[in-house]
């Protein structure tokens, strides 16, 4: 599957591979873009990866349609340190978002049940996958 025309300008396109496309979405309205993508028919989320690159936290949503992987990166500034939830659009992100918030210390706004998933309730210190 090729990248559909309608999705050409959903964000800043930065990388293309065989059967995959990578975009950087604007932090402010990424949820609207994702809503459009779901309405377009790419409604299976496979994974959410997070990476702390020093300045900001990269959150990557990996969407799947057949053999096509759509990777949408959102850069969360460390000063804000929060991101909107997708659980209302995609219930499958329930655990993935919990894990993201737990491991990288991002607050998920509007998550139905925030809290720890793998770590203990009385975990102290910085989130395990935060650098520096």
């Amino acid at each position: 599957m090729k990248l559909p025309k309608e999705l050409k300008n959903i964000g800043k396109f930065y990388k293309q591979g065989k059967n995959e496309a990578w975009f950087i979405l604007p932090y402010e309205n990424f949820k609207d873009v994702i809503k459009n993508i779901i309405d377009f028919g790419i409604n299976r989320i496979s994974s959410i990866s997070g990476y702390d690159n020093g300045k900001e936290i990269e959150v990557i949503y990996h969407f799947v349609k057949d053999n096509f992987l759509l990777n949408l990166k959102v850069l969360v500034p460390k000063s804000l340190n929060k991101i909107d939830t997708l659980t209302d659009l995609l219930p499958a992100t329930f655990l993935l978002e919990k894990e993201l918030s737990e491991m990288l210390g991002i607050k998920i706004i509007g998550h139905p049940k925030p809290g720890k998933l793998f770590l203990s309730e009385d975990w102290y210190g910085k989130p395990p996958l935060r650098k520096g």
Binding site: S49, G50, D122
Partner: protein, 381 residues
């Protein structure tokens, strides 16, 4: 509110691995389910960041014992994508045959456990007996029974001799008869049918909404198989058929796995027969660009995803693993509520949960659990 709360796990005869279910009963009927995971943390994602690319393949192979080669294949595949290299054809076929042998061993183990959960130890014993043939074959090719360590960046580590191949083919011929025999028994046994048909139903809509993967999705009539869509390794050349059932209950999931076993036997045979002489490993220049890559395989339990980010050094900057059970465990509420306590182990096992895979994150200091209310997931329920 509820009559009785039954703690199911973390240590329970029905569970080979720790997960904690809270079952709220009224009489024998399940009213509500809570679950918590995290008893099995090994800190693998963090430790992968602290090892170089070669060493971390062995670590990835140890995420889970049953799908060891699935993890290491997926990880090497991702790193190869990062380096933009191809692997030789012989290596591709060897990887495919190991991968499918592993699926066989996983599914046979699952069938045994499934019988055991129904109180049917004979099926357990028979299925574990047949599993020996697979383990022996794996031992012949890789030198170990469960953790194979066959993959390396650019190919495989070990060659297969002609003699080994003929021995493995002979084992597979025996195994094919045995699996067909088991299929014949399980498909028609009245009590197994009574215990599984109509229990734990998942329809197409649930599967799509919760993004379920693997045999669970395929049993509900969704032909979602990475082997077909991504055509990685040698599956495209071998002509792979997807097994799909439409009922979405425990029995359909059983049938999908048994039919997949027969398909796997066919694939391994074909793969081994089409191995041509050649090199098994390409020379690799370990020069990592600052880049990221994602790749997927169809592990025995479903779609397995590795995301690797490199920052140019000889160690990965970030590895994210999304395991199949992690996706599938969301449907617990759907398949358990409304059925009786006796169906809990059977339905739970029908997902083939691999909690070693699910709980693989960071170090845990204190084993206090976190409970996810699954009600929140199924808002309309």
């Amino acid at each position: 509110m509820h009559d009785l709360m039954i703690p199911f796990g973390p240590a329970h005869p029905a569970l080979p691995e720790p997960v904690y279910l809270k079952l709220f009963l009224e009489g024998e009927e399940i009213q509500d389910v809570d679950f918590s995971v995290g008893y099995n943390h090994k800190g693998i994602e963090k430790s992968l960041e602290e090892m170089d690319y070669i060493k971390s393949i062995f670590m990835a192979g140890r995420v889970c014992g049953i799908c060891s080669s699935a993890h290491s294949t997926c990880y090497t595949q991702t790193v190869e994508k990062l380096l933009n290299i191809e692997i030789p054809n012989r290596a591709r076929l060897i990887r495919t045959s190991i991968f499918e042998l592993e699926r066989l061993h996983s599914h046979l183990l699952w069938l045994g456990m499934f019988g055991h959960e129904m109180g049917f130890d004979t099926l357990f014993m028979l299925s574990f007996r047949e599993r020996e043939y697979v383990l022996d074959s794996l031992e012949l090719i890789t030198g170990k029974r469960v953790v194979h360590d066959i993959n390396t960046i650019g190919g495989v580590r070990r060659d297969v001799s002609q003699e080994t191949m003929s021995k493995v083919l002979k084992n597979l011929d025996i195994l094919k008869d045995k699996v067909e025999h088991l299929q014949n028994l399980v498909e028609k046994d009245p009590i197994i049918k009574k215990r599984t048909v109509g229990i734990g139903k998942l329809d197409k809509k649930d599967v799509e909404r919760l993004c379920l993967v693997g045999p669970v999705a395929r049993a509900s009539g969704i032909p979602y198989d990475i082997r077909k869509t991504d055509r990685y390794l040698a599956y495209d050349d071998l002509g792979f058929k997807i097994v799909v059932e439409n009922d979405g209950d425990n029995f359909a999931r059983t049938l999908v796995r048994i039919k997949e076993m027969l398909e796997s036997i066919r694939l391994v045979k074909l793969a081994i027969k089409s191995i041509k002489p050649g090199i098994i490993k390409n020379k690799v220049v370990m020069n990592f660009p600052v880049d990221e890559a994602i790749s997927r395989v169809e592990a025995p339990r479903g779609e397995l995803i590795y995301y690797v980010k490199s920052n140019g050094s000889n160690k990965p900057a970030r590895v994210k693993i999304r395991t199949p059970t992690y996706a599938n465990i969301l449907c617990l509420n759907k398949i358990l509520v409304g059925h009786t306590l006796a169906d809990v182990p059977v339905s739970l096992e029908s997902l083939d949960p691999c909690l070693c895979c699910t709980d693989r994150l960071t170090v845990v200091r204190n084993g206090k659990e976190e409970i996810i209310k699954l009600e929140d997931l199924h808002g309309h329920h």
